[in-house]
Assembly symmetry: C2
Homo-oligomer: 389 residues x 2
């Protein structure tokens, strides 16, 4: 191929992914305002979810530089999109004119980092996208040796972690889509099938239910359920297994689903399993119930952790309670001890406590929850019981 | 989900992807040697194709740092893999002990960049993976303020652009797999179907023929064929269309296919089309025939460009002739004017001249070619004619 491949199907669209020009203009304006407050002169945003958030396109992430140069409010530089000449025709559907963004093309053989330097117009404080590849970070350092480089993440997360109504609607649709996959789990989770076979069937269902890809499929059966990291393996599902199923992917809009349920296959689980699961279920319930504007992220973590510790299982819950979700499957706010950020309406994150018994079994329950004016709304609504299939 | 999603299906394996321990040990040793020649002390390699090349694993690319710390030959630091505690169990299948690589884990709340600083043991010259995200580049800059940062690409490309026999075998298998998709083009390229429908059918066939994903599918019909960047659109294929089909993806080993053919749908093309295509076909043939050890990359570009220019079509061929291919679909060596590198056995790249008539039609012919002791071996072998379907 001559041109650059999209880095993922979700990023292959040249269109603005259903986001209105007014909304994009508002995001760009607010990004400029926050940048100014952070003492940043220019935001430099290469392809990825930050670019998708600001322009409605993923852009092509490849060896050639594509970069949005977005000045802080009050800075002299003009907003511009630096893009390889070969890629410029693909921007036809993007409302750059309406957004006041100049297109600056470069041809093979030119150093595009020098174009960014020209746009900056002198020593400056740059904030680069957290995902920008080192090849461009160091290329910009060499082209702008007097400039200070910081990360754009602290600026953009102030916007991205507060979802607007359209974003919440996308997350709600993603939650419903992955719930439909969990609703069909009896078709997939069959004794005698390997985790890998079950995972392949689930992956096909994730796509069939409206995702552009199955970004992750964890099928942790029996002892494999005790490793939160587990993916799939050649282990055969056996009657009596407890199985952790943690699955999700992006919708065409780019917004992610992520939902975990734990199942018992073919038989009622042992009393010890049912007892520990009941503790976990109550902990997840209590954590979701604690979600409301003003509560801190760490208080939601504590609300999950305390009942598990009180039951003597504290050392079985070996990870943070959750992570924010949106265009990235992991983003701010993280629901973890030490994160004192106060929740606000529109923040969306997972609440996913788990208990893990090495060599034996594990369980996890995960919903995406969005903060509302009154409390929290679960975006996943399948039964939270240890369903026997 | 609690853990990190794989960045692509091809990267989700924890196994060493069929690469022997001996081969990995040899790659690590040679990387250390080349680093020393480049005045680099430590290579810092985060998840991506460089890590896959050196360790046989893609690793998890996410907000948590995973990083191979590989000292140059003669440097005091021990080889180490810095990895989140949560991910360590996933390394069970990786022969780190046999390769003499220490595992250094870190827990949420620690700064992993400081662990890299401890391993470095003092001021040093670092080379970071070209794809390392800015979040880690700047994190390492802050943790090692006295260190110089350069890119690891110039070191690793000396290894990666010279494919060994096992790599050539993988590229050959990838070429055969994508040839099988082109062989079935008559099933997909149907008048009345949109480019998007044709593309979806091709994508399914790419996976069915052994790729882990359809990384790119270009269906450029009629005037859309004149844009090398074109992806797919809602344009309906009509009888008489000339259609550029540029497709490929990775095998489970991670090695890519990439092959373009141009088809005529339902009718013999016009004489003017046939004449221009004949020029293109001869140019591609001549360029492939020029491949041999010692020839420069730019001479292969010139061999394609000259006959097209001689026919008065020089301004219709608007891109470089080709790109290297391997674990990345675009890598060194680039077949472009100004690249004086001398070809060596084991180098693999595309030879893909094209001619583009804006608003009317376009054509491109692309094979992957690997340099042998005697000349060049085409890895794509479907007819180079303008096949009428």
């Amino acid at each position: 191929m001559t041109a650059a491949p999209p880095s993922s199907p979700a990023e292959s669209t040249g269109a603005s992914a259903g986001v209105s020009i007014e909304l994009l203009a508002d995001r760009l304006r607010r990004a400029g305002d926050v940048a100014a407050r952070h003492d940043v002169d220019l935001l430099l945003i290469t392809p990825g979810t930050d670019l998708r958030y600001l322009l409605g396109i993923g852009g092509e992430s490849h060896e050639r530089l594509t970069c949005l140069v977005l000045p802080a409010t009050g800075h002299r530089a003009p907003p511009a999109l630096v893009v390889p000449k070969l890629e410029a025709p693909g921007l036809a559907g993007v409302p750059l004119d309406e957004l006041g963004i100049e297109v600056v093309t470069w041809a093979d053989g030119e150093d595009p980092h020098l174009l960014v330097s020209d746009l900056a117009g002198g020593p400056t404080r740059l904030a680069v996208a957290d995902a920008m590849p080192a090849a461009h970070v160091l290329g910009l350092r060499d082209a702008l040796p007097e400039a200070a480089q910081a990360l754009a993440g602290p600026v953009l997360r102030e916007l991205r972690m507060r979802k607007d109504a359209a974003e919440v609607a996308e997350l709600r649709a993603a939650g419903a889509a992955i719930d439909r996959v969990h609703a069909r789990m009896g078709e997939f989770l069959t004794p005698g099938h390997t985790e890998a076979q079950v995972g392949a069937d689930i992956a096909a269902a994730i796509v069939a239910e409206g995702h552009t890809s199955a970004a992750f499929v964890i099928v942790g059966s029996g002892p494999n359920g005790a490793s939160p990291h587990h993916d799939v393996s050649d282990r055969e599902i056996a009657p009596g297994d407890v199985v952790v199923i943690d699955i999700g992917g992006p919708l065409p809009s780019g917004y992610f689903s992520d939902c975990t349920r734990t199942y018992a296959v073919g038989a009622e689980p042992a009393a010890s399993v049912r007892e520990a699961y009941a503790v976990l279920r109550a902990a997840q319930e209590r954590s979701v119930a604690a979600v409301r504007p003003g509560a801190t992220a760490e208080s939601i973590d504590a609300a999950a952790r305390e009942p598990i510790a009180d039951a003597g299982l504290g050392d079985r819950f070996i990870h943070r309670t959750g992570h924010g979700i949106g265009l990235d499957v992991h983003e701010e706010p993280y629901i973890v001890a030490g994160n004192a950020i106060a929740l606000e309406p529109g923040m969306a994150f997972s609440v996913e406590p788990g208990v893990y018994f090495a060599g034996e079994w594990g369980a996890r329950i995960e919903d995406i929850v969005v903060v509302t004016e009154e409390g929290g709304e679960r975006l996943n609504n399948r039964s939270h019981d240890l369903v026997v299939l």
